[in-house]
């Protein structure tokens, strides 16, 4: 520590430019992220828009209790967690595998083309993709044409409680794995190529190098991404499900967000919807913090 240059005031002055540069972002964060948090009060009120936050009646934990008494809540939570976990697990594995394989391609042009093609679906909205998926998977769709040509019975994927969840998970993974692999590609490129060279000289085969060099090198990023995705364990993807589901598959496809949307919209129960949102965020936060704790305990690396 150099005392001359680092008295607090000097330290501040020397960094002043940076602080000023950061200000707009902080103001933005304050206005758009922190101030609206006052709306959380709604979760504990019988909020009526005309009366506003200040004059609506305070009801304590009523909405949280009400949520627990809803007859379908267990099924909805189970659906949410199952679908979300499926997407996180399969999505992460696919993204990592794809990143590793893509990294092995030596022809630059081909690599760029493949990357562009797999990123593309990420930028399409679910409203559009849902139409495509419905057309492919309905009884007259191309998938069922293939199934019947193999001499099998037609499957109503969009109306079957057995097939609806797998359909949600696979289509979501298909849409997002390319885009999600970007961060893993970056992680791979940050691994010292010297390690690979040394291993190659020592006679390690491709598979061995992946296992002993690439994957351990990616581990911090994988952990980080996994911990971050835990926050979304109670969000199974509203836009996708909303555009694909019908009452026929409520049993397997109705998740917290769609359920709250229907109940909140029809009954205009703003407070109830806020309460559910708050609980979701709270659980997400707890999960992320504990993931951080585990990470420190077992890998001796903190995520943040």
């Amino acid at each position: 520590m150099n005392k001359r240059n680092h008295t607090p005031r000097r330290k501040f002055r020397s960094k002043l430019t940076y602080h000023i540069m950061m200000m707009p972002g902080m103001v933005f964060l304050l206005i758009f992220s922190y101030i609206p948090m006052a709306g959380i009060i709604m979760a504990f009120q019988n909020y009526i828009p005309a009366k506003g936050l200040l004059h609506s009646k305070f009801v304590g934990l009523k909405h949280f209790k009400y949520m627990l008494t809803l007859p379908d809540i267990t099924q909805v939570v189970v659906n949410t967690v199952t679908i979300a976990l499926g997407k996180i697990l399969l999505g992460t594995i696919m993204a990592i595998a794809f990143a590793i394989l893509l990294n092995e391609i030596r022809i630059k042009v081909l690599k760029k083309w493949i990357q562009t093609i797999v990123y593309l679906p990420h930028f399409l909205s679910w409203v559009v993709l849902a139409a495509v998926i419905v057309n492919m998977f309905n009884l007259d769709g191309s998938v069922n044409l293939i199934i019947t040509s193999l001499g099998l019975e037609k499957i109503n994927f969009l109306g079957s409680n057995k097939w609806f969840q797998p359909l949600l998970v696979t289509t979501d993974v298909w849409k997002e794995f390319g885009y999600n692999s970007i961060v893993y590609l970056a992680a791979i490129t940050s691994i010292d190529p010297g390690l690979h060279e040394a291993a190659a000289i020592d006679g390690a085969a491709w598979r061995k190098r992946i296992w002993h060099i690439t994957l351990p090198g990616m581990l911090p990023i994988i952990l980080l991404m996994a911990a971050m995705s835990l926050t979304s364990i109670l969000s199974a993807g509203f836009d996708q499900i909303y555009n694909l589901y019908t009452p026929m598959v409520y049993q397997s496809g109705d998740v917290l967000d769609t359920y709250v949307y229907r109940i909140g919209l029809i009954g205009r129960q703003y407070s109830f919807a806020t309460a559910v949102g708050l609980l979701k965020s709270f659980i997400g936060m707890v999960l992320m913090l504990s993931a951080n704790g585990f990470s420190k305990k077992f890998t001796d690396r903190k995520i943040f």
């Binding site: 206005i31 758009f32 992220s33 101030i35 609206p36 709306g39 009526i48 828009p49 005309a50 009366k51 506003g52 009400y66 809803l70 007859p71 379908d72 419905v134 309905n138 009884l139 007259d140 109503n156 969009l158 109306g159 997002e176 885009y179 999600n180 991404m225 971050m228 995705s229 926050t231 979304s232 969000s235 509203f238 019908t246 009452p247 026929m248 409520y250 049993q251 229907r262 109940i263 919209l265 029809i266 009954g267 129960q269």
Partner: protein, 579 residues
Amino acid sequence: MRKDYLFKRIAITLSAVMILSLAGCSGNNAKSNADSSTAKNDGKTAGVTQEAQTADGPFGAYPEEITYTLGRQTIQNPKLPDGDTYENNAYTRYVKDRLNAVAVDAFEANGEDYDRQVSLAIASEDLPDIMKIGSKDILDELVENDMVEDLTDVYNTYASDYLKEIYDSYDGRSLSTATYDEKIMALPGTNVDSAPNEVWVRQDWLDKLGLKVDEDGNGMITVDELKNIAETFMEKDPGSSKNPVGISLAYWLSSNDYGGSTYCATGIANALGAYPKLWLKNTDGSVYYGSNTEENKKTLGVLADWFKEGILDPQFGTRTWDDITALLTNGQTGITFGVWHIPDWLLNNVRAMDKNATFSTYVIEGENGKANVFHNNASSGYIVVRKGYKHPELAVKISNLFYDELANTKTLEKDYPEVAKYQADGVDGSTRPFNVEINKYTSLLDDYSDIKKGVDGEIAIEDARTLESRNVIQNVKRYLENTATDDVTDWSKYHSRMKGIELIDKLTRENSFNWVEPVFWGTTETMKSNWANLQKLEEETFIKIVTGSVPLNDFDKYVKDWNDQGGSQIISEIEATIK
């Protein structure tokens, strides 16, 4: 994950915008405060002389100019001519000219925003002098809090004979919705019956296959006849689609309003004596929910059998509205359900795709040999007057002008050429001071009788009472001269009137309707929290029964669950309300 973050950001941004826009709204409100206070002052200065002037009859003008503030429900594109606004247009000038009353808009808003403005006005206890409100729930709230004027006396004194005739034509079903302790607290907009849920069948296909339908010519076909048509269409595929579908229904299966019954099995249910999604009364006075009856179980049984036999669309439950429309326009199905006016906005798409397409329409006959139908909610929207407004009779007088004088005058073009031009140019009705309709219960058939007479040459086109009828007569005449016409509008008007309303007219003439009267249209306290959930239970169970994934007898378990999850509570609340 990343996507989720973005989503949250957007949500937060949106809520911030909402807060800002709410602030903006209260800004508007401040302005309207100023407006209404000037209005109040005007009222005071004029008030002294006005007291003596109240005995001046239904169309009497005020000797000194008065102003009234309005809540205006607008639409995006009202087709107002340049320079005219909601506040100052041919209609408001017409009121000024006839009554010497000037409109000042307290607030204007579109659709749902309007309801929010009304809520704000109620919360801040600052109502415009006169406004339209959308729902019975709001009227209840206003009456409970004593915020609106009792209109009983002004209605009795000032309503023109014709206006009273209009309300009387509903046998009190409309006014009673605005009546509390025998006091009329609002002028309800009326809503004519649009029953029945008609079956529309491709007549060109029937002709092609030589199939005879409704041989006794009473306008009614039985459930079995309907099934038979569907089977034949499936077998012969007259649309050459290679993939015919017998009957395709929307998964919500029924509607509590005939206007919303397109692609619904409401007609089949009614024929079997079921009135799903409606609140009805037993002879002993107890209330029941129409979806939960034995008759409705029977309806679901029929549909489940059809599904098993393949007559009902195998993709029932996952087909969207657009999917079903596509089945019709592709020529995969030739049978559908809906109210009389669907040729105007839905079946016209079929004709646009297939130049040979024509439809016939029937109602499904009940076992009693009648067409079972229910009354729509007779009221749609309400006009209320602020408690303490000096001229509550103005609301009635303006209604007289628009729903009596304008509806009946033959000399509009001479007296008020500006207003006549508005009507000819199709300027939207929301530009009138009150955005509601007050029509005779029989207006649908009255207009039709003009149209029919006009088409048959019994009256001259100019003698038809409304401009719309005059236009329709021309459409129909053109269609009849050349039924192979390329003009889809002519085709539509012919089908909606000469088929759709003709059927209603015929069934009314032949006394074939069996009317049922639902007893409740509002929202109870328990419904606010439990209704969405009960609806989910109903929809989900019914789809499962129809598609056979649960047996029909699960219906009984559903009824029990429905009652346990708040249904019986709602029923007792309704019974308490209507007692």
